[in-house]
Symmetry: C2
Subunit: 189 residues, 2 copies
């Protein structure tokens, strides 16, 4: 059942059977219905998630009451509400299922134990974070250097799954555009 996860780990850093058994014994499975929340604003994030099936988004409500999406997740993605979990502070963000989804869950206490127990996980954790940071940086480059239209084209060319599976209003806030403008941009193309 957890084979895809082992596979994903393996691609990042070869995992031994022993390390994998440690891991397998502590992860849990969660099923989410469409629109169900994995985390709500104000809660402290208690662990990390690995998306096995479906599609999730993180979002928050800004000062003007607008719903702003900040990330989308698909099959095999790692999710961590890192600020809340690391600093033990209430999350500013919500995590919500856009489709019926399946996630693996790892409690943060167990995660820390894992870090202490095996250098493998210490290293894996670092490598996953490196990837996360790189993609976060790439993403802010897009917001900074591209016009709204170029941003949409970028998504169209590089993340076609976003276009197919994510409601336009959420994609719009993710790209920093109003939904009406995104609708018009889309029409022009």
């Amino acid at each position: 059942m957890y084979a895809p996860l082992k596979n994903t780990f393996d691609k990042i850093l070869k995992i031994t059977d022993e390390d994998w058994r440690d891991f397998e014994s502590i992860i849990e499975l969660k099923k989410l219905r469409k629109n169900e929340y994995l985390l709500r604003q104000g809660q402290i994030c208690q662990g990390i998630f690995f998306l096995s099936q479906g599609c999730l988004r993180t979002f928050y409500i800004n000062d003007n009451g607008k719903d702003i999406s900040t990330s989308f997740y698909f099959k095999d993605d790692f999710l961590r509400e890192i600020e809340s979990m690391t600093n033990n502070t209430p999350s500013r963000k919500n995590i919500q299922a856009l489709e019926e989804s399946t996630v693996f869950y790892l409690d943060k206490i167990k995660l820390v134990n894992l870090y202490e127990k095996s250098p493998f996980y210490q290293k894996l954790g670092r490598l996953i974070l490196e990837r996360l940071t790189i993609s976060e940086q790439k993403y802010s480059s897009i917001l900074r250097a591209y016009s709204p239209k170029e941003r949409y084209l970028f998504i169209l060319n590089n993340h076609p799954e976003f276009i197919e599976r994510i409601p336009l209003q959420h994609l719009a806030s993710y790209l920093g555009i109003s939904r009406e403008s995104l609708s018009r941009i889309r029409k022009r193309i």
Copy 2:
């Protein structure tokens, strides 16, 4: 001479004398004149830096030939051109001194040795990355949810040192605004 660096480490994760000696023996010092480059587009980043004095920026040239700043660094900041270093690929970005600056340099091979040698550094590396990721996420939230004017106000309130020390044209590209518009926004306030 390296005391401020030890201090910074200590704040993140208490460092033992032994671990510190290991570190101290391998770091190097670099002095940079104003406008001098620490890394140029196309080069592979060979290590990480810690800014001891002065001010640096990272930037790249986009498809339209425009100079886009992506980060600014001040005293006690860590710099890693993480994508280039991690993946061993040519950097898309330049790192340049905005003022006469002093940086500590740690070669990536030595860094990896350090990671293998002591779990302390493995953990410190992870913690530093966590911070980096958090600030990167905060930053893209600003670009996404705020109007150009609000972005400038945000910097004014939260990073007044940016206003004082960073040339307007670089701040403009960092905020995803043309320099003329930023000049006008500034006038209105």
